[in-house]
Symmetry: none
Subunit: 251 residues, 2 copies
């Protein structure tokens, strides 16, 4: 299992969850609870319809401290002024000229950005999502891959899902010795180097240009975009094949 799960996670203290135009106070509380279950704590509210409100504290359950500390603003710009990067979250298919990330891609990227300064994750209101002027403050759009038959997640559920990805990224960065930025690429190259060494030992390159042959393998295999767990699995495969006695004539 993942270790280090109570870590102070200094990166996550740089992350602000910003709820714009929230209509239901209960959703603010549920969002606070969702944040706290994933180790996030900085809640900002932009133009909430009703706050403070008892319903928020009721649904926050044990995350009332996040509501006590929440800051209320009139303009998104007041929250994002000193932010290094602003991510807008959407479950809709938006046509905006912004870089687009999946929630899974977001996690490591937020941690990398948080190393440089505060980061904002901006959620729009329950009905309309992010409006255009708020969207204009975002550097990057995060699209939740919801099903076309039912695109719109409950606000707190979306917060839960995004904060979960941040927590996973934080737990993974805590357990791996790799640098956060560009880690997937490095990890892939590490596996490719192991494959290269195994092939060199096996004589695979005997009648080949090693550099070109390796490049062909890199090109084919990197298309799969293996994640860390998959690369671990593939390291295991390679180890097993290398340790096995020769099976000439087979395959």
């Amino acid at each position: 299992m993942l270790a280090n799960d109570r870590s102070s996670s200094p990166m996550l203290t740089k992350v602000r969850v910003v709820l714009c135009d929230t209509q239901e106070p209960g959703n603010i509380g549920a969002a606070a609870r969702a944040m706290k279950t994933m180790g996030l704590g900085r809640l900002h509210l932009v133009r909430p319809r009703q706050f403070p409100h008892g319903e928020a504290w009721r649904l926050a359950v044990s995350a009332g401290d996040l509501l006590d500390a929440a800051r209320v603003h009139q303009h998104l710009a007041d929250v994002t002024a000193d932010c290094h990067t602003v991510f807008g979250i959407s479950a809709r298919q938006r046509r905006v000229p912004l870089p687009l990330l999946s929630p899974r891609q977001l996690g490591p990227q937020v941690l990398a950005c948080a190393a440089a300064g505060p980061v904002a994750l901006v959620f729009g209101g329950e009905e309309a999502g992010l409006d255009n002027s708020d969207m204009a403050r975002c550097d990057t759009l995060v699209s939740i891959p919801s099903h076309p038959d039912c695109r719109s997640l409950n606000l707190a559920a979306a917060v839960q899902l995004i904060c979960y990805e941040l927590r996973l990224a934080q737990l993974e960065s805590g357990t791996s010795g790799l640098a956060r930025t560009g880690a997937p690429r490095q990890a892939f190259e590490g596996w490719l180097a192991a494959l290269d060494a195994a092939l060199a030992d096996s004589g695979y390159y005997q009648n080949k240009n090693r550099e070109l042959a390796l490049e062909a393998l890199r090109r084919s295999l990197q298309r799969a975009a293996f994640d860390r767990a998959e690369l671990q699995m593939l390291h295991g495969v390679l180890r097993a094949l290398r340790a096995a006695p020769p099976a000439a004539g087979k395959n």
Copy 2:
């Protein structure tokens, strides 16, 4: 971006979301909405305190059809009798003698199991989680890596997070070679069979479930959508590695 996201996803129709001892009807509705946003549809309720109830339909928003079709039972066994695998979901740290998965590991595993028959994902009540007798019906426990300061997710938020992992697994399996101009499926399967044979000989499967381990490899590698020439190259790689003398201690 991920293609094919409205796919009929026959695997997901085999997945039953089972809520045991739910106290708040609103949570049943919110869970139904969470399911529908991720393309799941089969909802089962075991001993709900109040159902049907207007609050459930109110919070389901556009997922009322899942509530209309939901089935109510007195015993978890009535839902799981014909299930191939039963996964219990928990945000607590449980000490139970069951295999433990993370939500991220769950997604692909559910799809693999669903190929063989119905699969149940079982969620306990809001206060106490799964009770011991329900836990005894589970084959595998899924632990949500929540923060120790605030372990307990809202029920519908937990359903959202688990269903999200299933949807991602389904989308990833759907972006296999199909859309690309890769080699025919058969050709890839031929190479995978050669890999499987090599791994069986090497002892790779010794402490693993061979079927699941192979399924994980298939899922990862098929994303690359190898063409015929690439598969020939990979057959060559496999032949070379198999023919090489053992290199214990390397890699």
